[in-house]
Amino acid sequence: MASAPVGRALRFLDPGVIARLGTMELKARTVVEGFLSGLHRSPYKGFSVEFAEYRQYLPGDDLNTIDWKVYARTDRHYVKKFEEETNLECHLLLDQSASMSYRGAAPMSKLEYGSVLAASLAFLMNRQRDATGFIAFDEQIRFRLPAAARPGHLHALLLALERVQTGQRSNVGRPLHQLAEALVKRSLIVLISDLLDDPEPVIKGLRHLKFRGSDVVVFQVLDPNELTFPFKTAARFTDVETAEEIVADPSRARTDYLRELAGLTGRYDRELRGAGIDYVQLDTSQPLDFALLAYLSARARRK
């Protein structure tokens, strides 16, 4: 019964639709509202010491939330609603290196896709009263917005996301170490990057964060062209970061390339999962709901 509304809602998660929207806030709101309307159960009403309201019991509500005193008085089941306690600090790390500006066949570049993803997560966190921070980096940290949950912080964060420019070469490991050293509180770290870097320092940096007690979610954002290498004619492939040129015939080089890419992503998947880090690979041509579900899953584990 709920499939039709869900289908309509998911339409708003389509990158092609989101790319045409105006501000980052509108994009994030569209993504989050569309995502949430597609869920069967409210995911973000949690436990808190601060009473919010009574609401009639509905099938699916946790039985622990039923106020039995009210039941005794009224002979009806009511559940107690509480404002969720804000005890989570979340840091969104967005890779703004030159490779993130690549846009092949997808409607958005990886940086745009990552920005919308970060904005959506921030929007979601804000609704849950989580303190949200933002870091943009390439080979070093270029912008940092400390985590906060105060009113107006979301607007500042979205504004910062909107102003993110393409940076220089990427060095993901370095800012991760910097952040790990700077963290004083266990947090949720969300890394959004294409991870087309030397995997060794990246994994070390992420382990460093995990070691400091933070939960880490890694979104590897890749363009469909990077995932499938669909080129047909021989070409000079020029690296957008290093300007390195390689002349290749795709018909011959595709197999080797895809094998190398699978090796790289397989290593990330294997080693990060082994370290208890969530690793999610995203295709910029695909909707964002997968990424949001991955986040909520990580957050639920944290509880």
Partner: protein, 610 residues
């Protein structure tokens, strides 16, 4: 293989362009921005075997196209091909109207077929039919084609001209070995004059006689005299002949008269005729001779009396001029119809009224408005005549403005004592005076314009040297200017005996127009008129008479030896370049080269798109 313009072969160097492009662009690949370049193994662009084959095909096609284009411009030819050509037999058939006597053309065709059948196996045979022109009926080729082409031949209306067939045969032989067999009645009239005809030494000429001529009677001339039509009848036989000449007008017999002609004589017969415009035909009956000369056509135009407009004013009434022209008015033909108008009557142009006249005499320009001046100028430029007499009422500035002449060329009347002297006695106005032109010197001139003769033809001058009678062309018409008065105010000319012939001839001269001929001979008719005897209409509606050439009616023949004596074989020393040009022109290999280039380009486009 040789080339007519080998310099164009340098254009073949352009093949370097596709070759260089092929070599330079072989490894060029477009730049594609990418991110995971480090994941790409270096794999040099190795083209597949099929791609390499396609590139080679494209290169070959482009090189071939350039080479073929250069070769086509260089005009290739095979020099040995001309020498290896088979001998040529040309059968020339006389189809002049002298061949149309009963049973005669059948004999001609028999001889022609025999001449074709005599051709050797490897010999090429061509057929030319000729009268005053030569037409190729069968191009050099198989004898069977030549034989079948003979069945289409008929005797025509033209006269015999051997020069036409000899030159056409020489052109066809093109310097090669050829044998020309002329089947003709050997009419002496077929040779124009006594000059011999030059033929290539490589061409043998042989005549085949068609037998003795028939006894022929023909109308060889027709003319219109004063109310009579005269026909000239030639008896070309050896026996006296007599008969009747009939005059037909619009299909109706209007007169007839008998004639009797002694052997080999021409007699003239006159028939009464009330002049009327249109075509007439004079005919006789002669069933033994040539049918085409039994009738002769004549076109008669209605007599047109030229109309002359005299522009005058009360001060310049043109009295003497009008009286002089009236004296000539009764002459038929040759008279005038004069009309006296004032300048006020042609004010506003009145171009239509002016155009009805053949000539305009300007005795006054007072009150001649601009529209009238433009109408006069237009009248002259379209073929009208204008006689201007300097008079007190004629303003030099107005005269100059008519045709944009410089006003400095006309100095108004000066008082002087002068007399007239004819300086060009052959001028049409003065020629009739002959030795009496000196009498013009008796006229005393007291006043006259001083005209600058630049751009004019001066026919007479005053004794002080200034021009007195001038003429110039304007458009299709002519202007005659007399530098003094014709109304006895500046001279006493009107009272002299020379006045009447002078003004009559002056007006006749400006009123004269070019007379187009209305008599033509078959073979020399205007374009668009069929070359058959009869009365035909030109595009403008004017009728013309077309008759057969009377020389063809003659039965004077020559022998084969006399015919041969009229030929002068000359060695053909054709320049090498001319010979090569002819060979190349005949082979036209360049056309095949361009066709091949087109085919190659089509293949290239298909391969390129694959």
């Amino acid at each position: 293989m040789s080339f007519l313009y080998p310099a164009f072969l340098f254009g073949a160097l352009a093949v370097a362009v596709p070759i260089v492009l092929h070599l330079l662009r072989r490894d060029v690949a477009p730049e594609v921005p990418f991110t995971a370049v480090r994941l790409l193994k270096i794999s040099p662009v190795e083209r597949s075997r099929r791609t390499r084959l396609r590139d080679l095909l494209l290169l070959a096609a482009r090189v071939a196209a350039v080479l073929l284009l250069a070769a086509a411009f260089a005009r290739p030819f095979a020099p040995g091909a001309a020498a290896a050509m088979a001998p040529l037999r040309i059968v020339a058939v006389d189809r002049s109207f002298s061949m149309a006597a009963p049973g005669r053309f059948e004999r001609v065709l028999e001889r022609a077929r025999a001449a074709v059948d005599e051709a050797a196996f490897a010999e090429r045979v061509a057929v030319i039919a000729f009268d005053d022109r030569a037409a190729v009926i069968a191009e050099p080729g198989a004898a069977a084609d030549a034989r079948s082409s003979l069945s289409t031949l008929r005797a025509g209306s033209g006269g015999t001209r051997y020069s036409a067939v000899l030159s056409r045969a020489a052109e066809m032989a093109n310097g090669g070995e050829a044998r020309l067999i002329v089947i003709t009645d050997l009419q002496r009239a077929g040779w124009e004059g006594d000059s011999r005809a030059r033929i290539p030494a490589t061409m043998q000429v042989e005549t085949r006689d068609t037998g003795a001529p028939p006894a022929n009677l023909g109308v060889v001339d027709a003319r219109l005299d004063d109310r009579r039509v005269t026909a000239a009848i030639r008896n070309a036989s050896a026996a006296p002949a007599s008969g009747t000449v009939t005059l037909m007008h619009q299909g109706r017999e209007v007169a007839r008269a008998g004639y009797a002609a002694a052997p080999a004589t021409t007699v003239e017969v006159s028939l009464p005729w009330q002049p009327s415009s249109g075509g007439v035909v004079l005919s006789i009956a002669d069933d033994k001779g040539y049918p085409a000369d039994n009738a002769r056509y004549l076109v008669i135009h209605a007599t047109e009396i030229p109309a002359v407009m005299i522009v005058s004013s009360p001060d310049s009434p043109g009295f003497y001029l009008q009286r002089a022209l009236a004296a000539d008015e009764s002459r038929d033909p040759g008279g005038f119809r004069t009309r006296l108008v004032s300048t006020a009557e042609i004010a506003g142009g009145r171009a239509e009224m002016i155009a009805k006249h053949r000539a305009l005499v300007l005795l006054s320009t007072r009150n001649l408005d601009r529209a009238a001046r433009e109408a006069i100028a237009g009248f002259v430029r379209t073929g009208g005549g204008l006689l201007i007499a300097a008079a007190p009422d004629v303003e030099p500035s107005v005269v100059a403005s008519l045709f944009g002449w410089s006003t400095a060329g006309f100095v108004p009347a000066e008082a002087r004592q002068a007399s007239l002297t004819a300086t060009d006695s052959r001028h049409p106005i003065l020629r009739p005076f002959g030795a009496f032109a000196a009498n013009l010197g008796n006229v005393r001139f007291e006043r006259a314009w001083k005209v600058d003769g630049t751009g004019w033809h001066v026919a007479a001058r005053f004794d002080d040297g200034s021009p007195a009678l001038l003429e110039r062309g304007e458009g299709q018409g002519r202007v005659v200017l007399f530098a003094s008065d014709l109304d006895r105010r500046w001279n006493d000319f009107p009272v002299h005996p020379t006045f009447v012939p002078f003004v009559t001839e002056a007006v006749r001269h400006v009123a004269a127009r070019a007379v187009s001929p209305d008599q033509f001979v078959v073979g020399r008719v205007p374009a668009g008129i069929p070359g058959e005897p009869g009365v035909h209409q030109l595009e403008g509606g004017r009728a013309i008479a077309v008759n057969v050439d009377p020389r063809e009616s003659s039965t004077s023949l020559m022998t084969s030896q006399e015919f041969s004596d009229m030929l002068e074989p000359v060695a053909v020393t054709m320049a090498r370049s001319a010979r090569e040009e002819q060979t190349e022109s005949r082979q036209s290999l360049w056309q095949y080269g361009l066709l091949m280039m087109l085919g190659v380009l089509i293949v290239e486009s298909f391969v390129g798109r694959a």
